[in-house]
């Protein structure tokens, strides 16, 4: 009984807590600022946050297996550089190049973690440095402009059916991710690996392969985020992406996924990303009102406080359920 209560509470908080917070924030913004729910603002928030959403989706899967991927930020930077270099050949080659670069780093992670048996934290810390080094080398220590003629920039700046292309990409990725996690044996094995890896192995499930695929996917999604980054800002940015990994971890955790693995949800991760993204947006609106002027630096302070609030509430609630049962 004890177990279920804690488990259920955690899941409920995870699933609905973050949604509730998101809705509260949206309602707050809608009441307080003009145009907060205007098409322009909504679409630009979605456009800007879609790359973080992609990175967080990969991180979500990795964390569910009980691992971590610190390399996603520099992988995205590498992806943006490679995509920018390939952009003169068109949108699709640019996309594939960025994705490929991400998959390569993901493959390195997968190999180091599963073949050399090195802790994910250290393995991805190393590939983070390596990816960053590669990005700087390829870009010659400066940003690489993309070609504006080939249609590559559509991937970041374009619209499809009145909805930003990057948001479409993120949406499709999340739908697929949710489907995979809930309705395929691969997805259930991901959850099992995070719950108890040894047991999963002894149950005869391909734990190693599943872990490898998860890191591969995380790398690929980070590469895709890099493509969008390059297309949106018109340049491949070798030094961008610093701190993305921790932002993604924060979003996943705010979404209620357990960092110890075994429990997690794709939908809540998306809510976590939007929640952290909206804080920046609201800060801008607040400054626009002109009553107070908060520098952009407050953004990270507020994000930190928000993370603190969420994890503190999660911790308190789970402690209390343990005690009362």
């Amino acid at each position: 009984m004890n177990g279920t209560m804690t488990f259920k509470t955690l899941q409920t908080i995870g699933r609905f807590g973050v949604l509730l917070a998101l809705i509260t924030l949206i309602v707050f913004g809608w009441l307080r600022y003009d145009n907060f729910l205007g098409t322009y603002n909504v679409l630009s928030v979605l456009r800007y946050n879609s790359m973080f959403a992609l990175v967080a989706l990969g991180m979500c899967f990795v964390i569910i297996t009980g691992g971590i991927d610190l390399s996603v930020g520099s992988t995205a930077a590498l992806g943006s550089v490679v995509a920018a270099l390939a952009s003169p050949y068109g949108a699709v080659p640019g996309l594939l190049a960025g994705l490929g670069a991400g998959l390569m780093i993901g493959a390195c992670n997968a190999l180091i973690i599963t073949r050399l048996n090195i802790l994910p934290f250290i393995a991805t810390l190393a590939t983070m440095l390596a990816a960053s080094g590669c990005a700087l080398l390829l870009a010659g220590n400066q940003s690489v402009s993309v070609s504006y003629e080939s249609g590559f920039t559509e991937l970041g700046q374009g619209d499809f059916l009145g909805f930003p292309v990057p948001a479409w990409i993120a949406l499709v990725a999340y739908l697929l991710g949710s489907l995979v996690l809930n309705l395929t044996s691969f997805g259930r094995t991901v959850l099992a690996v995070g719950g108890n890896e040894d047991a999963t192995r002894l149950m005869g499930l391909p734990a190693t392969r599943v872990k490898a695929i998860v890191y591969l996917a995380s790398g690929g999604l980070a590469g895709l985020a890099g493509v969008i980054l390059a297309a949106q800002f018109g340049a491949g940015q070798p030094i961008e992406g610093v701190g993305w990994e921790l932002f993604a971890i924060a979003a996943v955790v705010v979404g209620g996924t357990l960092l110890t693995g075994g429990v997690g949800s794709v939908g809540s991760t998306l809510a976590g990303v939007l929640l952290l993204g909206l804080i920046f947006n609201i800060l801008n609106f607040e400054n626009g009102l002109g009553w107070i002027s908060l520098s952009a630096y407050w953004q990270s302070v507020i994000r930190g406080l928000f993370l603190l609030l969420v994890v503190a509430i999660q911790a308190r609630l789970s402690v209390r359920t343990e005690e009362t049962v």
Partner: protein
């Protein structure tokens, strides 16, 4: 008829140390085959080689007429070998259904068909007369149910050979009977079973033949019926058993009037403990008996300050101040050997010496600096006194056998000169020889005036060691047995349907 499985001349070394030396194992079709041996005899290694968890160094395995070498448990499962491991190896956060069906999911249109999977899980569990909500996470259920889920999973794979590595360690007697029923069903269906257990009764009641291992070798193979218990144990230990069997009965049975060192009354903790009373006098071994989930461990953890009780009185050494942390209890003069050595006892990467002096450290340190000289002296003394077998006090404790680890943990408390020692399943997972040593040590200590509170699920052991037994059932103390009432029949009767009248009878 060719045997279903024959393993021949299997060798395996770990870091240069041989774990298996030309080990043999032959299992016929439709037989229940016992595999026994002390801890470290190589049973688990042999099984893990068979299931592909380890790779063998040399030797050959023929399964179902074909030579095989499995490189992963998955392959072994595919070939028809299912395994139930000693520790429950399932995923606690996931649902019962997932734990049973992962690895052979039902699909519709390429996606998981949850409805069919839930139905299958329910059907498999019904063979064990278990009817539970299969949607809920596994960790919502008690250990025994989890064990049954593990067995259901193994059977669901339509295996030709089912390996059970101490499957009964967390089951009560009724559940063991259900399990035996299932084993007989399997046998009737032509499935072979390899059954690993330390409990002789179980082996004799369900197994056809036995393979005995010692020091990585197969030392005897015989039909169960042709081997007496004494022969079996002697072969397993490789020595005459007279010392083990000639243990002195418990100390004199004169009524003790000394004031209790520990008195617990009306203890309640959550739903597991709802009214537990017991007491321990100095120099006395008191047993806490009861089925799994009766609230024994929870009660003693509260006494030691590891968990917080809701209500009730705990008076230790004349003071009923509540212990809020184990550190308080230790300062007051208690020691506690927990049930799970690996999880809550040893610090695996630390040396024997560091593990042994862990609780003593505050007394060994002057201004925060550890007095290494004295620590060495004390450790040498206890290694000698308890007969701890290690190459050197600086050896890492995880390299020791279970019995020796347990002795180090006992020494951790004995070097503190405690007034009360609480032992939760002190002989679990320990071979017969070390078991006897530990029990006689406990007796000797009690003789010197130490109060001992011991939990054990092995009736024989608790009846043998304790001079007084409190029986718990469903979180309540239902009987106190003393003197002649301390015997297996009365303990079992109290566990099954004990009530207050037992208590009166025992006193009278």
């Amino acid at each position: 008829m060719a045997p279903l499985l024959s393993m021949h001349g299997i060798n395996k070394r770990f870091a240069g140390i041989p774990a298996l030396r030309a080990a043999e194992l032959v299992v016929e079709k439709g037989e229940v085959h016992a595999l026994i041996g002390q801890n470290g005899a190589g049973k688990s290694t042999l099984i893990k080689i068979l299931t592909g968890y380890y790779a063998k160094d040399s030797g050959e395995i023929v399964f179902d007429g074909k030579p095989v070498t499995f490189s992963s448990p998955q392959e072994a499962q595919g070939a028809g070998i299912s395994t139930i491991y000693q520790e429950i190896n399932l995923v606690p956060y996931r649902s019962v259904t997932e734990n049973i069906c992962l690895g052979r999911e039902k699909r519709r249109f390429g996606l998981l068909d949850w409805r069919a999977m839930h139905a299958e899980a329910r059907a498999l569990l019904s063979r064990f007369n278990i009817d539970i909500d299969v949607h809920r996470p596994l960790m919502a259920y008690p250990t025994a149910v989890q064990q049954m889920v593990a067995i259901a999973r193994a059977i669901g794979f339509e295996a030709k050979l089912v390996i059970m590595d101490e499957p009964t360690s967390s089951l009560d007697e009724r559940e063991v009977e259900v399990l035996f029923g299932v084993i007989r069903q399997l046998k009737a269906a032509g499935v072979s079973v390899i059954f690993v257990s330390h409990k002789l009764d179980e082996l004799y009641s369900v197994c056809d033949r036995v393979t005995i291992m010692r020091d990585g070798r197969t030392v005897q193979v015989a039909p169960m019926a042709e081997l007496s218990r004494l022969d079996l144990v002697t072969t397993m230990l490789g020595r005459e058993l007279t010392q083990v069997l000639q243990e002195g009965r418990k100390a004199d049975d004169t009524v003790d009037t000394r004031k209790p060192i520990l008195k617990v009354q009306d203890l309640a903790i959550g739903r597991r403990v709802r009214g537990v009373d017991f007491e321990v006098r100095p120099g006395e071994i008191v047993g806490l008996a009861g089925l799994l989930g009766a609230g024994r461990t929870e009660s003693v953890r509260a006494v030691f300050g590891a968990d917080k009780p809701d209500t009730g009185m705990i008076r230790f050494a004349g003071s009923d101040k509540a212990m809020t942390e184990p550190a308080d209890a230790i300062r007051a003069g208690m020691g506690f050997c927990s049930e799970d050595r690996k999880l809550e006892g040893i610090i695996p990467d630390m040396s024997v010496r560091e593990n042994l002096t862990l609780a003593l450290m505050p007394q060994l340190a002057r201004r925060g600096i550890v007095d290494e000289g004295r620590s060495r002296e004390i450790v040498d003394q206890f290694i000698k006194r308890l007969g701890i077998r290690c190459s050197d006090p600086e050896q890492r404790i995880r390299e020791l056998s279970g019995g020796n680890q347990q002795k180090v943990l006992l020494a951790r408390w004995l070097c503190m000169n405690p007034k009360l020692l609480i032992l939760d399943e002190p002989t679990r997972g320990i071979d017969v020889g070390a078991k006897a040593e530990i029990l006689s040590l406990i007796r000797e200590l009690a003789g010197q005036g130490l109060g001992v509170l011991m939990i054990s699920s092995e009736l024989e052991e608790i009846v043998e060691a304790a001079s007084r037994i409190f029986v718990l059932r469903d979180g309540r103390t239902v009987a106190e047995l003393e003197g002649d009432a301390v015997n297996e029949q009365s303990v079992m009767a109290a566990m099954a349907h004990g009530h207050e009248s037992n208590r009166e009878a025992a006193h009278g």
